[in-house]
Symmetry: C2
Subunit: 107 residues, 2 copies
DNA sequence: ATATGATATTGCAATATTACGATAATACTA
DNA sequence: TAGTATTATCGTAATATTGCAATATCATAT
């Protein structure tokens, strides 16, 4: 097949995987970092900055937004994408929790 | 196309994405958690535990091992997979560094 | 050396992801 | 309201990922 079995893994495991998937592409990492680096919510120039086509960037933005990491709001003609701090901390906690509860007991 | 442009993103961004990719599948998360939950390096029963076929598990183990998260050593007839603590902390740091340096400056 | 149990590799099919051009939708401006 | 700039969606092609059956490899034990 190739499709993931939906019943095999716990919800927590699926959550971790889903969050990781968002960061699993350098373009999305770059987009998130770029958005966070701007003092104002400049967004239209993400396309120029990252170097991918406008539709591709838009697609990546959807993925990031679906995970709740950013939120967009209209700012004149363009859209202002910003980090959702609350959700961002939440994801950091999910990762930290995973790393902290996963220790080595042997070797 | 569908292939990532190799020159667009920084090495750091690619590193983060590569690490995230390992955790971007619930089966791999489950495998890592299972390995870490055993006091001894029991490994052959990962297949029974996770519920995927032996080749599939082997494939996932390769991905995890390539990232350096686990290391395997022969233990009798079977192979003992254990968490590589040093590398594990390293990855946690990569993530934390990403999250901590990515703040919201607007909205 | 051979048999055995355990893990890895190969080959292949199904699905998902990534990317872009063309086009549509949206919000503002004149 | 028509025009313009900006972002989203659609359609499609290329590549990657996921999964398993069949087979090969490897380390031990006999």
């Amino acid at each position: 097949m190739g499709a993931s079995n939906l019943t095999l893994h716990s919800q927590k495991q699926k959550d971790i995987a889903a969050v990781a998937k968002v960061l699993a592409h350098p373009a999305r990492v770059a987009i998130i970092q770029y958005i966070s680096s701007q003092d104002a919510c400049i967004c239209g120039d993400i396309v120029d900055k990252i170097g991918l086509s406008q539709p591709t960037i838009s697609q990546h933005l959807q993925v990031i937004r679906s995970a709740g990491l950013i939120k967009g709001s209209f700012e004149g003609k363009s859209i202002c994408y910003c980090i959702d701090v609350v959700r961002f901390k939440e994801l950091q906690n999910i990762f930290n929790n995973f790393f902290n509860t996963t220790a080595a007991n042997c070797c």
